[in-house]
Amino acid sequence: MHNKSIAELRRGLHSGEYSSQELTRVFLDRMQRHQALNCYITVTEEQALEAAARADAQLAGGKAGALTGIPIAQKDIFCSKGVKTSCGSKMLDNFISPYDATVVEKFHDAGAVLLGKLNMDEFAMGSSNETSHYGPVRNPWDADAVPGGSSGGSAAAVAARLAPGATGTDTGGSIRQPAAFCGITGMKPTYGRVSRYGMIAFASSLDQGGPMARSAEDAALLLQVMAGFDAKDSTSVDRPLPDYTAGLNEDLRGLKIGLPREFFGAGLNSEVAARIEAAVDEYRKLGAEVRELSMPSLQLSVPVYYVIAPAECSANLSRYDGVRYGYRCAEPADLTDLYTRSRGEAFGSEVKRRILIGTYALSAGYYDAYYLKAQKVRRLISEEFQRAFAEVDVLMGPVTPTTAFGIGEKTADPIEMYLSDIYTIAVNLAGLPAMSIPAGFVGDKPVGLQIIGDYFTEAKLLNIAHRYQQVTDWHGRIPQGFE
């Protein structure tokens, strides 16, 4: 059962082949058995079984919604009422959310069963899931390798079949990079497509929630539920929601694919490059036209990102002050002591680094040189994408320069860690949709192909991903020990 796709599980539930309670049990058992991966921060077993029972009643009564009875798991960044929502931080270790995020509400309304809350880098700041207060997640393909981050728990859980599908969030690659490292399919939608209400903010102008699943088809089913206008989010876009599964099989003949030269430069591991080129060849076979193009300002996306994201995060994380919720230090001597110690004791070092750099970039005398400058270069990057999309339909390239690196390998040098996001960050700066899909292996570790589209072309990206998955089986591979 755990190897079935969401589409298959829907059919099984509707035909009565198995109940949601049985299905939910299967996943709860697997979660129990594979605790060593450290995917889940919280397992909501009781609620899950109750929800599954309700789902079974609905299925029996013919009142099923889009995902009725399907177990899913939420990244622990989405507030879920009555459930601990930690954001991977000691700061929120005691935080039982008093409300539901819009995304959580939507899954609930669609009838999905929440299995639990997934591990992640603290406040989504990290590329390896090593900054989590709850310890690193292990990559199901190699227990000594990182699963990527920040949605590392989500990617590992889906790859290890500890959930049929999961949510993630992507601020600089946090869905795509772990999807690539764990060999699953992940999508970061257009900024504004998925509501950010109740999704704990890291960098508000970059954050976007999205689906993480085993196939493009499953991702489409999840996105259908997650996406849509939300009046509670001022940055949510009010535009009709397409049917994401309707066009999955559309023909790709004549599709224009652009390969930015800058994605294939010196930093790219040659074996990863070979897998990407092979994947592009597959698209040629499907009738696509491929051309190279140059996008020189992409090189600046990492420095731009490391001004904008920390600046926004430095303000977004000011609310964690030990007054209304969350961690409070013992016996504060005075107000300043309350703030500095509560924050000092409960934030990890990566979060602190980013708060510090952001505070510095915004402080008197530096605003123009850093923040304003970064916002300007951000526009140049965004305009460069628009020029590219005037020529081609989609861009393709690697998601990461290498396959999953080892746990502890990059923790000593934060800059080296930042540079591993070089191919993913620009997409967030521009607010574009992009996917990572499995495109083969280097050794026993997966490689991800990145597909970037113009604004609101999620349906097209899913179609492009799905057609590839019809002619390849990389996405169907199961890591050893999780069959």
């Binding site: 507030c79 704990i200 102008s205 001022s234 940055t235 000011s318 919720y325 605003y367 923040y371």
Partner: protein, 476 residues
């Protein structure tokens, strides 16, 4: 040395919306602590702000009333600092691109009209309140007020005395109430003022170093605090010291200002555009809509009163100082059908006096327009004299009876029957032969005595004009 004072005011007007600027929580005053602080106001993880349409309309309305530019594109920014009454660790405000740009206001002081520039007005959220009563040595925080919409109105440093500053503040107070965008309740903190004060030698171009005085919640305190601060700065300068740029708190109990060290620590606010909010775009259509809703403004009303009712500048200014006063006056004229002069005399005289004595606003007057009109009509038709009318007014103030009912019950109707008056006059003459003799002997001043006697005999009800006329005839 001769010193010149330079004052600029920053006024925070709470906008009279039902819900908060970025959340659907109520803005009603006086609720139990933290019962009107929703997840958004509390800065819970993951929550997001959505802008209140009314707050925007009110800001636009204000901008139009002071003939300011309304920014077609304005931006919300985060002002970062840590304070327990600021749940998110930043205040959502406007910095570089405020919604209302350059405008102006005219004040009338000692018969002279003066124009005060308004640099800008911007929307922002209010903070909560720290309560310093002792909770085992701790401070209590109530976040009900957090997120209440504020319009911060910043003036140019155009004022040169505390009196001018107060006149400007009063004018602004009247204006926001005319526009119905703020209830103006200063006790509840709906209308608050910070004053930037500096002094410079007369003739010097550059401004002196200024201090900012916070916590000015009455017109009287603004005047006293500025006067104190001006004296203090002059003392500092004259004794060879320098004024330190700082924030000072006005302590009304001691009538002095003192340095607020807590505010000095972190004045690097690290403003940047709030990424949770998009630029506010004001279309011309909205401006047209708001324009159509604009009421007659104080200056226009004052000019109309002058031409329509023949008021002098002073009278017209007093009557139009608040919308309620002006409305009361106009309804009174209309309902009573009396001369505007009689109406304005009563509104500004007896009524204003009684309201003042009882610290009441005209909107809370125990005597409404209708009842006062009834009284004025009885003056106009000579049923009672002005003097008796004051007595009737007192009665009316105490209860709910109409003027007619009081006149009837107390028998206050004026005696205009000349036969009856004549009889009384004859009696008075008969009773006071000595005074008659003296009067006829040339002591003219005694005429008043006879009038007094007649009025006394009629308990003031005789028509004074009739009494005068007849007495003159009889004592010839």
């Amino acid at each position: 040395m001769q010193w010149e004072t330079v004052i600029g005011l920053e006024i925070h007007a709470q906008l009279a919306t039902r819900s908060k600027i970025f959340s659907g929580a109520s803005t009603a005053y006086g609720a139990a602590p933290n019962t009107q602080a929703c997840a958004i106001d509390l800065g819970m993880p993951g929550v997001l702000p959505v802008l209140n349409e009314q707050a925007v309309r009110m800001a636009v309305k204000f901008g139009m009333a002071i003939e300011a530019e309304i920014a077609p594109y304005s931006v919300f920014a985060r002002k970062n600092y840590f304070y327990p009454d600021l749940p998110k660790g930043y205040q959502i405000s406007q910095f570089e691109l405020p919604i209302v740009g350059n405008g102006h206001l005219e004040i009338l002081l000692d018969g002279e009209i003066m124009r005060i520039g308004v640099t800008r007005a911007h929307l922002e959220e209010d903070a909560g309140k720290s309560l310093h009563e002792d909770f085992h040595g701790l401070t209590g925080v109530d976040l009900n007020r957090a997120g209440t919409p504020l319009l911060e109105i910043v003036s140019e440093p155009d004022m040169r005395s505390a009196k001018q500053a107060v006149a400007y503040m009063k004018k602004l107070h009247a204006l926001v109430r005319y526009l119905e965008i703020c209830d103006g309740n200063m006790q509840e903190g709906s209308f608050r003022c910070d004053a930037n004060v500096s002094v410079r030698p007369v003739g010097q171009q550059e401004f002196g170093t200024r201090t900012e005085i916070k916590n000015l919640n009455s017109f009287r305190f603004v005047e006293k605090a500025i006067n104190y601060e001006v004296e203090r700065q002059i003392d500092v300068l004259e004794s060879g010291g320098v004024v330190v740029q700082e924030t000072r708190l006005y302590d009304s109990a001691r009538d002095e200002t003192r340095s607020m060290r807590s505010k000095e620590e972190s004045n690097d606010y690290r403003y940047f555009p709030d990424p949770d909010l998009l630029p506010v775009v004001i279309e011309d259509a909205l401006k047209e809509e708001v324009k159509a809703e604009l009421p007659e403004l104080p200056d226009a009303k004052r000019e109309r009163f002058k031409s329509q009712y023949g008021h002098d500048q002073e009278t017209a200014s007093v009557l139009t100082a608040t919308r309620e006063m002006a409305d009361y006056f106009e309804v009174l004229v209309q309902k009573s059908g009396c001369d505007a002069r009689l109406c304005s005399n009563w509104v500004m005289g007896e009524l204003a006096g009684a309201l003042n004595k009882n610290s009441l606003e005209i909107s809370a007057s125990p005597i409404d327009c209708e009842r006062l009109a009834g009284l004025l009509q009885r003056i106009a038709d000579n049923t009672i004299s002005g003097k008796i009318a004051k007595q009737v007014f007192e009665e009316m103030w105490q209860g709910s009876a109409t003027a007619d009912a009081i006149i009837e019950a107390k028998g206050l109707r004026q005696i205009t029957d000349s036969g009856a008056i004549e009889k009384i006059i004859d009696q008075v003459i008969a009773d006071n032969p000595g005074q008659v003799e003296q009067y006829l002997g040339g002591k003219d001043k005694l005429f008043g005595f006879f009038v007094g006697q007649v009025m006394k005999a009629t308990q003031g009800k005789a028509n004074p004009a009739e009494v005068n006329k007849m007495l003159k005839e009889k004592l010839r």
